[in-house]
Amino acid sequence: MRGIAFGRTRTWLLAVALFAWVLLLACPRPALGQDATHPAGEEVILATTTSTADTGLLDVLAPLFLEKTGITLKPIAVGSGAALELGERGEADVLLVHSPEAEEEFMAAGYGIERRTVMVNDFVLVGHAVDPAGVAGASSATEAMTRIATAGAAFISRGDDSGTHALEQRLWKAAGITPQGDWYTESGTGMGDTLNITAERGAYTISDRGTYLALRDRLGLEVLLEGDPALLNIYHVILVNPDNGRDIDTAAGLAFLEFLLVPETQAVIGGFGVEEFGEPLFTPCADGCSVLDLEATPAAGTPVSSS
């Protein structure tokens, strides 16, 4: 029995040592590396749309923000709908979203205390070059949507309450169409996956230009309609109301809001993507920008200039 007893003691020791090791590894380790630059270890939770993460913009902005303010940016990339929901629940400090109607409701309900325009880019209607519904000749986005529905041509919708999905819904509404039937499919996935499905099925979809450009080489999809002011994609930063929940770090959120709007950051946003895609993905717009003036003109029925 001595052997057994000894075996048990040894096992116990081993177990305790293992457990201690686990605790040691599991605990956050301060005083290491990056933490030296911001002793407070302050963090800000940013709930944002997938396009800012998928394009890689946040990977560029996060280290700059840390360098400037000593605050670590924790971006949570979800759809705009989910981002606003996180803000409403007080699970995020600041939001970067592109779903204007939902944002206005959010502000009206008092969930946000500050909302500023950061940047814009645009949505494009993409599809196979064959273009069975004749979308390329349409004079506006609403007319293009009408043509797709009339032709019963396959259309892939995000179907996920994202900003892109909200815009698509807006266009159907403007065209007086309730999209349903065999031709209308909800992918329930992010922009990249939706574009892949669209390419596989020879369908149409609406994409933000950035994600489309990032995937263009593999897709074999053409931009069939662009330039309609109704397709403008405006990104706003929203500071979450501290009354929405516990522990909301409004000071850190405000620091991120201000960081996005200073000329230096705006220049970084304006230059982002040129190297990889040959053209910028976003137009900085903190102090207003010429593209936004288009929005003031009557949205529907404006002829498409470029393409």
Binding site: I4, A26, I45, A77, G90, A214, R218, R246, I248
Partner: protein
């Protein structure tokens, strides 16, 4: 096929091209999943052994719960842990959401039923006479359990392999409670998802190969341990 070979070549470039980010992701994946498996081992082993050896009221319901838990979808585990760790949730004050600790918690939740269920099956499969013999030889209850677990060590190592395999490969919980934050909570699976949605299929494939290789190495290490533990081979 070009994609596959391209991915393999890219994997080599990522690992040995002096890119510290990939190594950081590999380290974090290993750290999170190994700790989660260790926790699952400490919880699942006693739980499984108890369920196999002790008769108590409600035991069959507990056994059913463990078996159902073996199929717990990672996204459900992620959602549960999120609800607990949200700022406005019961443990919000700890500030653990979107940290590796939250990922460890969720993955331990996934792996514990796997370890417990397989432990239960392994100990139940032992000859009941062995246990009686141990008790007859004067072993205390804990000693008896210890020797029974020793006897069942081969399937127990398989249980650890299964638990580790379940967590290193899951993406739902890691994405949800970790947030896929670069340099903090980005692991191999969530990085792969991100690269796919970015359209970087080659990088995604490369990360998949790294993940496969890592899982293979850890499994091999555990299998070697299993062999050394196999009395038929020593």
């Amino acid at each position: 096929m070009n994609d596959l070979t391209g991915g393999l070549a890219e994997a080599g470039r990522l690992l040995f091209g002096g890119n510290p980010e990939v190594w950081e992701i590999v380290r974090l994946s290993l750290r999170v999943s190994l700790i989660a498996t260790t926790i699952a081992l400490f919880l699942g082993l006693p739980a499984g052994a108890t369920l196999a050896l002790v008769r108590f009221p409600g035991r069959s319901m507990a056994v059913g719960a463990v078996y159902a838990g073996m199929g717990l979808p990672p996204i459900v585990a992620g959602l549960l842990v999120s609800l607990l760790l949200w700022r406005n949730g019961p443990f919000g004050a700890a500030g653990l959401l979107y940290t590796p600790a939250a990922m460890i918690l969720a993955q331990a939740l996934i792996a514990t039923p796997v370890v417990a269920g397989l432990t239960m099956a392994a100990v139940s499969a032992l000859d009941p006479r062995y246990r009686l013999q141990l008790l007859a030889l004067g072993a205390g209850r804990l000693q008896a359990v210890w020797w029974l677990l020793r006897e069942a060590r081969l399937p127990l190592i398989a249980a650890v392999i299964a638990g580790f395999g379940a967590v290193i490969s899951e993406v739902g919980a890691a994405m949800m409670v970790g947030g896929n934050i670069k340099g903090e909570t980005r692991v191999l699976t969530t990085a792969t998802v991100l690269e796919v949605s970015r359209g970087h299929f080659e990088t995604a494939l490369a990360l998949s190969f790294v993940l496969l290789g890592l899982t293979y190495l850890v499994t091999i290490a555990l299998t070697l341990l299993q062999r050394r533990a196999d009395p038929a081979r020593s």
